[in-house]
Amino acid sequence: MKYAYYPGCSLSSTGIEYDLSTRAVAKALGIDLWEIPEWNCCGSSSAHLTDHLLALALPARNMAIAEAEGLDVVIPCAACYVRSKAVEVEVKESPEMQKTISEVIEREYTGKAKARALLDVFANDLDLNNVSALVNKPLQDLKVACYYGCLLVRPTKLGFDDAEDPQSMDKLMQALGGTPVQWSFKTECCGASRSLDKTQVGLTMIERILSAAKEAGADCIATACPLCMSNLDMRQGQAGAKSGQTYNLPVFYFTELMGLALGLNPQELGVNKHFVDTSAVVKKVVEGKGRRETA
């Protein structure tokens, strides 16, 4: 299985552990990731607030490189994924826009290379029974609140999962031996950049998610988005301070939990790079009973 890999800017900065764990897990699962050479920023919200064509052309360039290579593009970051998906859909729907974009980026992009979310690939392209078979440190007794964020599975008609109650990460965690908790905040907004410009609003939104996860009995939260991670992890202390709560809820990229379950070295997955201490959960998994002998 070979895909073009688009890490995006966050994964080389705040979300570096997402990149580390993605590459490590892909390798362990036998997935060949071909990093797009000289990839550029997807434009994120800034481009798409500035100019429609710019917002399409930026991700189109990355997609075009992958298309020339004949590969679909796997994208870990939710925002990069949505922007890349947007250009894929637009060039398929509008031949004029396809022409304009190709002119602007001086490459041909026809939408043949598809933008795929990393979660979609891991949860749906692999047979989860095979993933289970590779687990040697099951996430036993680990209650995981799977948090997809508001962007990853929307808009509804483009999503790879249900927009209100997505299941792919839950199924993946189950395949790893973990216990996904039932909760209603899977796609609630984390406030995104509100934590920068209107911090109080952002913190309220963050706390709502944290308290819901806690109430559902989660030991940790799993996410698939670097911005959600920043908010839930880095801002966790601030968010709790308002109401005098200490949540102490470790937040993981779902790929980190996959790596732990597959028995990879925790340091190489980057689990020590979080604000909220992850060591208790990591220890629980690493020192767990190990692979159950299945009958």
Partner: protein, 660 residues
């Protein structure tokens, strides 16, 4: 010498605003065969028709062209008009210069006038080829069929029966009564639904002119107005209706329980059952899918306990074919499946229910004996949230239309909660409150002012379970704030939608339906109970969302139409049907499978060729069945089939007039 009169109508300003009608009339004077042409403001009015009649006499006109609107509405008007002046009604042509011209390009008068002239030119060319046609008479079967035994069907049947005609009601459930039987109270008077419905059910059952055919479905409809041949499948009840006394012992002793459809799954019924205690007929059926005997081959408890020996496991579905003069379709509605709403929990939260569930919860004969108890734990809810427009006015997940009844029944529900649970809080999330109807607005005002229901203008974005409570998050768009309500129970006003098999039935009967599978009336204003198929009428919510008063009114309207049809012994048939030129028919039979009305068949004729008598097959049209659609004339390879009034010669004359 043929003498054509052309009459150009202004239709007020509908046509005249974008077409120079006087100019069209003047142009028409030069068409071949035209002896007289004029224009007038309203040709369909009394003076307009007089104008035509007078011109026929004065100018010795023998055929007429009216350039006005679509023939759908006024072709019969003008046919009657020229018949009044002594012409055959089929010596008329209409040029549609309104729908086909003035309405579609209102901004270019010069070219619209030119186009109207051309349309009139074609009509003149055709009318020159018209021949007088005569209607024939067919007998009318004086018996009506009502499909659906809800309040609309019952009302229509009673009205027809009271006029002295025989009526059969076919109902697919074991009892008549429909959705109204499930409802507790009716707005805006709050009188008990059962108290006003059950007497009508009894009246229908006891009426000498009404036959109830319950637990049965229509399987095939053939024939035409005045003489429909309808095949009805009488499903095996497994109970002999003649022997059964309706004592109920069998249901009491039956060991197998299944969720009750009538109680919306909130309690159980037996496998041998009547849907509800006041059912009519009050004789049970065996639900074979769930019956132990039919599933496992063992049990027969009902047979053992039945004192009348009425249980008959060997019964089979019975197909009967009956002839009817008219059909009333009153098949009602279904409720929108709200499980597409993820934000409301995809139907996973037991205390998020629909309005119809709620009707059963407040009904004295319902699963809780009329005490409002929430389904999950049977506790009395204190905070009840109502959400309107669930599936209605929501193109993304539901239907574009307004379901019309929900504002009123939600107000009723809110009132009833406040009345029954004194310390309750009722919150109603709404988009608009729509209360057009006599006494409706007053009822709504009472709900808020007297009963203290709290109306919040805004949509609910999410419902989630938090312990025993349901947290309802939404927007109050009047306050401009987000609101959160801790609810014990949430009631959704789910949209009224067409029955799941509505399209199938429509195709079977041959009536049209809209994009939402509601049946289409012949005219939204002036023919609201008729369909485009003669002899088939509509009543109730199968035509679109309706409340009880409206359904009953429409049912009586449909009944009046049926009575008018059945009051005659014979009726005239449309002479616009296909005819076969046997001399050139090759007998290939290509036309037979094309005909949607099964009006064509092959017959054997004898003819003398070169002194010898030979036999050969030719197509033959059943004039009773042919609806004049013309499909066969297109399929016929030797042009032996020709549709009267739309003959090949007439159509070609129009084409020539336009193109040559």
């Amino acid at each position: 010498m043929k003498r054509v009169g052309v009459f150009v109508c202004h239709c007020g300003t509908n046509i005249a605003a974008s077409v120079d009608c006087a100019q069209v009339a003047q142009n028409a004077q030069n068409f071949p065969g035209v002896a007289y042409a004029t224009d007038y403001k309203y040709m369909c009015s009394e003076p307009g028709q007089e104008l035509i009649k007078k011109a026929i006499k004065e100018h010795k006109l023998d055929r007429i062209v009216v350039a006005s609107c679509s023939p759908r509405m006024h072709e019969p008007t003008f046919r009657r008009c020229i018949e009044g002046a002594g012409l055959n009604g089929y010596m008329l042509e209409m040029a549609n210069i309104r729908e086909h011209c003035s309405w579609v390009h209102p901004d270019d008068k010069e070219r619209a006038t030119q186009k109207s002239t051309e349309l009139a030119r074609m009509a003149v060319a055709k009318v020159l080829n018209n021949t007088p046609l005569e209607k024939s008479q067919i007998p009318v079967t004086k018996r009506a069929l009502v499909i659906g035994g809800g309040i609309a069907g019952i009302q229509a049947a009673i009205d027809i029966a009271n006029a002295g005609h025989k009526v059969d009601i076919v109902e697919k459930e074991p009892s008549i009564g429909g959705k109204m039987a499930q409802i507790d109270k009716t707005f805006p008077t709050l009188d008990c639904s059962a108290c006003i419905l059950t007497p009508k059910m009894v009246e229908a059952a006891n009426h000498p002119n009404i036959t109830l055919i319950t637990y049965s479905e229509v399987e095939k409809v053939e024939g035409y107005v005045g003489n429909f041949d309808v095949t009805i499948r009488k499903k095996a009840r497994s109970v002999d209706m003649n022997k059964c006394t309706g004592c109920g012992l069998c249901s009491e002793k039956c060991p197998s329980r299944v969720p009750s459809e009538f109680e919306m799954g909130m309690t159980t019924r037996k496998s041998i059952y009547t849907p509800f205690p006041q059912a009519i007929p009050n004789k049970p059926v065996i639900d074979r899918e769930n019956c132990r005997y039919f599933k496992l081959g063992k049990c027969k408890v009902c047979e053992r306990v039945c004192p009348a020996g009425a249980i008959d496991y060997t019964q089979e579905d019975e197909l009967v074919t009956e002839r009817y003069g008219a059909i009333v379709v009153a098949t009602g509605f279904d409720l929108f499946d709200y499980s597409v709403y993820g934000e409301y929990g995809y139907g996973k939260y037991p205390d998020v229910i629909t309005g119809l569930h709620f009707e059963r919860l407040i009904n004295a004969s319902g699963p809780t004996m009329g005490k409002i108890k929430r389904p999950s734990d049977g506790k009395e809810p204190k905070n009840v949230v109502f959400i309107k427009c669930v599936g209605s006015r929501d193109e993304a997940k539901g239907k574009a239309y307004c379901s019309k009844t929900c504002c009123m029944y939600t107000a009723k529900h809110a009132t009833l909660v406040r009345e029954k649970i004194k310390d309750s809080n009722v919150y109603v999330f709404y988009m608009d409150v729509r209360t057009p109807g006599k006494g409706y607005e007053e009822f709504y005002t009472r709900t808020t002012d007297q009963y203290g229901a709290i109306y919040i203008r805004g949509r609910v974005s999410k419902i989630y379970q938090k312990g025993e409570k349901l947290i309802v998050k939404g927007a109050d768009t009047l306050l401009g704030k987000q609101v959160e309500v801790e609810a014990d129970m949430v009631v959704l006003a789910t949209a009224m939608v067409a029955q799941p098999d509505a399209a199938k039935l429509a195709q079977m009967i041959g009536i049209s339906y809209d994009q939402d599978n509601f049946y289409t009336e012949a005219h939204p204003k002036l023919a609201p109970v008729e369909t485009h198929t003669a002899g088939v009428y509509l009543a109730g919510a199968c035509q679109g969302p309706k409340d009880i008063p409206e359904s009953v009114a429409q049912a009586s309207g449909a009944a009046a139409k049926v009575c008018a049809l059945l009051s005659k012994d014979e009726m005239a048939t449309e002479p616009i049907i296909s005819q076969v030129n046997e001399a050139i028919c090759a007998g290939c039979g290509m036309c037979i499978p094309i005909c949607p009305y099964k009006a064509l068949e092959l017959k054997t004729i004898q003819e003398r060729v070169q002194g010898k008598t030979i036999e050969r097959k030719v197509a033959s049209v059943n004039s009773g069945l042919c609806q004049g659609c013309g499909a066969c004339t297109v399929a016929c390879r030797s042009s032996a089939l020709n549709l009267k009034h739309f003959t090949n010669e007439q159509i070609l004359a129009e084409v020539d007039a336009l193109c040559l």
